[in-house]
Amino acid sequence: MTATAKPVLVRLDGVVKRFGAGAPALDGVSGDIRGGEITGLVGPDGAGKTTLIRLMTGLMQPDGGVITVLDHDARKEAPAIQAAIGYMPQRFGLYEDLSVQENLDLYADMRGLPRRERPAVFDELLTFTDLKRFTDRLAGKLSGGMKQKLGLACALIRKPRLLLLDEPGVGVDPISRRELWKMVENLTTEGIGVVWSTAYLDEAEACDHVLLMNAGKLLYAGTPPGLTDRVAGRVKRLIGIKGSRRRLLARLLDDDKVVDGVIQGEAIRLVLAEGDDGDSVVKTAGAEADRLIPATPRFEDAFVDMLGGGPGGRSALAEAQAARPDGDGRPVIEARGLTKRFGDFTAADRITFDIPRGQIFGLLGPNGAGKSTTFKMLCGLLKPSEGEGRVAGFDLRRDAAEARNRLGYMAQKFSLYGDLSVGQNLDFFAGVYGLAGARRRERIAMMLDVFDLAPHASMSTKDLPLGLKQRLALAAAVMHEPEALFLDEPTSGVDPITRREFWTHINGLVEKGVTVLVTTHFMDEAEYCDRISLIYRGKSIALGSPDDLKASVATTDRPDPTMEDAFIALIEASEQEAAA
């Protein structure tokens, strides 16, 4: 076995770290990190990834256990470790008001790179990161992808034996992310050990080795196939669905034999219970689906399985809501040539789409592409420079207030009042939406009940765990039974179980006739949508159902592309078009 020949660079032995009272941030984590491979440190926000990396750098002290990095005890010999590792913290650790070259010079001085070696090292790093043309540019003026490469170059100034990268994929478009991955992969051929922390499970699948964490505990240590093996043969796709796939999914999720299920384009992806052959699923689906076919297990399937399966398919929230009549068949949300200019920069360029009642529409694109701008124009937070938008038939220019009354908005960053309690926040939002008297009390009680927030009603919102915060944010957005729901990156960083729960509610509401506009950069999440628009550099470069978009980039080499493949292929095609 070659794996055993690789040297162990980091040994974690029963590592414990506490911050104040409550559950420890790290609870007895043990594992090895080896040279010459990429170790994925995988888990949702709050799992303990950053804490573990900081402990490895010696910048933090463990409360228990032993961490040995490059044969040094991290507790006692931090300086020796810091001299030998490369570390890129979140947000890359760059000085934004220094130029690319000045940042490199600074790190070279900090790490004591001899002057005579510098020209060669800088040349190599700048070539490697393709930043040669930008050496005079201030780091703050670089794109996300370029910042990330510069951060990597700074961490590599003195070829480290161990490279620690804390969420390098955040805030970067998928193309840059792939480029970075290739660079890092190259490094491993020289024997460097790389730790790549991520909340994206699809990134984890490409690692040589993973440490899967959740809520401070290590769930799995080993190769990605070793993890997906546990669900081998149990992952299926139900295809040829007639009628509503969301309603069918809700029924299937209540089946004991179904561990997990999500919408995947026109199909439903299922993880079956151990020893089940799928008969029960086929029976439940009855005439509503053609057949059950095997699918390649993914990391997320295994992760959910490991956490004991997803929640059931019932949404008490949706059940309590009256179904909306179909209406006159006009779209609930319309965008007609929406354009937004900031100075001479066009953030959104003639964006056009419409969303019929009871559908989910996704805006997919890298950060800074114009998703949020489009989104904000449609919920009346930003005045379009050109074009028009309508919500529930109300023109956003003339009747913005009317339109806003009919929509519920969940902002990208947690936007509730951290110093108010859960109950006070709900009460405040009820007031904002004009709920009064008995109805107000009734809706608040219902939100506390449906989202299981009652035990935390008097807690300060800022002290809630991420999953609960996210539930509360949804509760505040749907309290007044809006016709249209606007969700801006709603599940970014949350664990897959919370994400499932969230989508169960959304799916249920959609079944009742609520219309949803969602932005996301999660490829999986894009597949929950009925249709998506791919936004890139302010333009919509593709629009269609997830299956159509995937089919549009299928080739003989790649008959069954993933959503990310489709995304990258479509962006590349659009760039070639722009260049031509």
Binding site: Q82, P89, D105
Partner: protein, 376 residues
């Protein structure tokens, strides 16, 4: 060993160079180090003045005799008053309420008779107690004018009885220009702004942007990180001070009677507690907003209010006087004022410098303990 030292020197110079680039490129440091001092200086140089120029008063002549007219004339000739003459105090009551005049002087009925009978004649002064500064001023100068007039009369009447005349003489600031002591004082405020406010904010910013963490994960030591901040902001503080002194002397004509050496020695000593406080605040808060609030509250305001800069410490309540003992600016400002207005008084300066260095030492010691290369 020497390679170790060379590494240390190189890291420190790199940190200082980096910081200098940042100072030059960051508008907010230019704002705090150069623009704010200018605004402050102009404010104290031109805008705020504790001197009072001519005050409007109403003069009520309840009887018109040669004697009262003579007294009225000396009020009218006074360089402290602009006098409007009337014959009934009710004419001026409304003006006093509206603050159009600073006081009413009443020469009452029977003044001449009292004077001739050598009974002590009285002049009534009515002032607005809601404005104590003006009230005091009017009261004192009215009394002064009356006694001068009496003395003159006495001198004219009986040349033999030489009246006792009080001759006031102010040393060091003969024109009693408040600008002359406010401007040196404001230089201390400027150094507090650079040393405490700016320094605490730039370090907090490094925590916020994650650059501090990235730096700490290199072989750099906590000492080097701190020195890399102290040296540039120390120099910036001195530069800012020099700019202020230049303006004070050449633009505002504030005298400079001491030596440059004393000026820089005092300023350098004062920057120690100032920087130490800045480092400590940023190490504790790690957040720009909180750092700036704390710096203003614990650095700027005490330097402003409790240092004797504007308010006399001796006239503060005893408790506050004790509190003012821990305000470093309190030890600088009197010395700085001496450098400008009196000259070098080394025994006083050395005492101030020692106290300031002592404060600096304590603050640095705490700051270094708090800035261990650790993230908590």
């Amino acid at each position: 060993m020497t390679t170790l030292r060379r590494g240390r020197v190189r890291r420190l110079t790199a940190l200082i160079r980096k910081e200098s680039f940042q100072i030059i490129r960051d508008p907010s440091s230019i704002l705090i180090a150069l623009v704010l001092p200018l605004i402050l200086l102009f404010l104290f140089g031109y805008g705020v003045s504790l001197d009072t120029s001519r005050t409007n008063v109403g003069l009520v002549l309840e009887e018109t005799t040669p004697v009262t007219l003579e007294l009225a004339a000396s009020f009218q000739n006074s360089r402290y008053f602009d006098v409007t003459v009337g014959h009934d105090r009710r004419e001026f009551a409304e003006d006093l309420v509206q603050s159009r005049i600073g006081g009413i002087l009443v020469i009452p009925n029977g003044f001449t008779a009292d004077l001739t009978a050598a009974r002590h004649p009285a002049v009534q002064v009515i002032v607005d107690g809601a404005d104590p500064n003006t009230a005091n001023f009017v009261q004192n100068y009215a009394a002064g004018t009356v006694s001068t007039w009496e003395a003159q009369r006495a001198a004219e009447r009986a040349l033999t009885a030489t009246p006792l005349l009080v001759q006031q003489r102010f040393w060091f600031n003969p024109e009693l220009k408040s600008r002359n002591f406010l401007v040196p004082g404001s230089i201390a405020i400027v150094m507090t702004l650079v040393g405490t406010l700016l320094t605490s904010m730039v370090i907090a910013r490094e925590w916020e942007r994650g650059t501090m963490e990235a730096m700490m994960a290199t072989p750099v030591t906590a000492w080097e990180l701190l020195a890399g901040k102290i040296v540039p902001y120390f120099l910036l503080g001195l530069a800012s001070m020099s700019l202020c002194v230049g303006l004070a002397v050449f633009l505002f004509g504030v005298p400079f009677r001491g030596s440059i050496l004393a000026l820089y020695a005092l300023s350098a000593a004062f920057l120690m507690p100032s920087l130490g406080q800045g480092l400590l605040i940023s190490a504790v808060t790690k957040n720009q907003f909180l750092a700036s609030q704390l710096a203003l509250l614990s650095g700027f305001l005490p330097s402003f209010l409790l240092s004797g800069f504007i308010f006399e410490i001796n006239s503060m309540p005893l408790v506050i006087q004790y509190v003012s003992m821990i305000v470093p600016a309190r030890y600088l400002i009197p010395s700085l004022q001496s450098v400008f207005l009196a000259g070098d008084i080394w025994p006083m300066f050395l005492r101030s410098i020692l106290v300031l260095l002592g404060f600096g030492l304590v603050l640095f010691a705490v700051a270094i303990r708090k800035t261990a290369k650790r993230i908590t």
